[in-house]
Symmetry: C2
Subunit: 257 residues, 2 copies
């Protein structure tokens, strides 16, 4: 099995190191990851400036690793189109992210965008994130990811599925199991702190406290809160089909004269 | 009606100017837009550096306009949380983008992310893009957007809908009407050009030619190709519910010991 690994915390982050160490036991590894932290980049891509790429040997001679001056989506695009063009991976794994990627927040996530880009190009993918690695180690999450990779490799569901995995905040022995979930809702209050620079110009820091919202029982947020590992299958068709049907009648009402 | 306007081409772009001029006829306008071009930023947000904001008077005394050193999603968040916290808009309009935002490409779009962010915060929104403004002027597209704003304001479909509008490439008299569409599929080949800098370091430019793929008849891409204005309702729940159901059985198969 050939596995492409990316992340958004950067190629030197501890999370990706644990992931590489675990997955090299079950397959051949290529790494293409940002040369520095690129979190909260959403599905940004780099179209208006060149993207630098450098081979690094941090992960041993047998692993080709590319440090890329772009986003996780850039890394996956570049890898599939250039670095391993004639040797496509069986799966792309993005992470392990230092911090959760839950609910509606996944739309901001660089980690998840790496996985979505893979699926858009036709390769199955997994994004893996941890709420707090002081309780459970990256190694534990990497070991679970390894099992998940084998499962996805063996299964035959739809073309190029995407799985978003989040690890709960508890001690390893307290993890109750894994739940298949939907995305919950995350909202914040007091989103910004307002300040002025020495010349009187205003600026803002994004901050925000998480709101405690009601969540569906089968959501990723509830799973995590109950010490389950959350596995959410994702897709990238943003069409709202229900609204689409309900406004069909609008077509005849626009006067373009 | 209070209308918040944003874009991703920057607050000084011609597209946003036409939009402001058209929409100020039907409502009170606030502008919060990037201080420079921020296209292809996807749903990126600025969490790790401060966001500068400056009031500008380019659009006249009656219009409050904020030039923001962030992404379209930042602009909408900042506006709703800070600039107009006690005077929320009835609708957010993002554009007019210089270039199309069609099919699967909308996931990369800064223009669309401004609209999605509005809906995530509970405000209806419209993203408006033009394939080529040499044929139809920004003014024509702005006039249509104005009608669409009134339509969304009057309708009572779901909470905070998002509409992605694209204008076709043809002369004004050749526009056949408007179609309610789903997102089509966009893929590119020869995505990157490989070069070396004077010191022998490799770098890449994202390029790519659009592939000619089969599309559903009711897709945005087909509508545009047939000289229709395309209106696609969007949503931001990335859960893949079908796969979710089909892998429920996995839950009992993970051995966490």
């Amino acid at each position: 099995m050939h596995i492409l690994i990316t992340n958004d915390d950067g190629i030197y982050a501890p999370g990706i190191k644990s992931l590489i160490n675990a997955l090299k036991q079950i397959g051949r590894i290529t790494v293409a990851a940002p040369d520095k932290e690129r979190s909260a980049t959403g599905h940004a891509i780099t179209m208006h400036s060149p993207i630098m790429a450098k081979s690094i040997d941090k992960y041993g001679e047998e692993i080709k690793a590319h440090a890329v001056s772009g986003t996780p989506a850039d890394c996956v695009k570049l890898a599939l189109d250039m670095f391993i063009k004639d040797d496509w991976p069986d799966i792309v794994v993005s992470g392990i992210n230092n911090g959760p990627n839950l609910g509606t927040d996944v739309i901001y996530s660089g980690t998840v965008s790496g996985a979505i880009e893979a699926s858009m190009m036709g390769v199955p993918s997994i994004a893996i994130s941890m709420s707090d690695h002081r309780f459970i180690s990256f190694e534990d999450a990497a070991a679970f990811t390894s099992k998940m990779v084998c499962k996805v490799f063996e299964c035959s569901i739809t073309s190029s599925p995407i799985f978003n995995i989040n690890y709960p905040v508890c001690k390893p022995g307290e993890v109750k199991g894994a739940k298949i979930t939907k995305l919950g809702i995350r909202k914040y209050r007091n989103n910004f702190i307002h300040r002025e620079d020495p010349r009187g110009n205003r600026y803002y820091w994004m901050a925000g406290e998480l709101e405690d919202l009601p969540q569906d029982d089968n959501s990723d947020i509830v799973a995590i809160n109950n010490n389950y590992i959350s596995i959410t299958p994702l897709q990238f068709d943003l069409t709202h089909y229900k609204v689409m049907e309900s406004i069909k009648g609008w077509e005849s009402t626009f006067d373009l004269k």
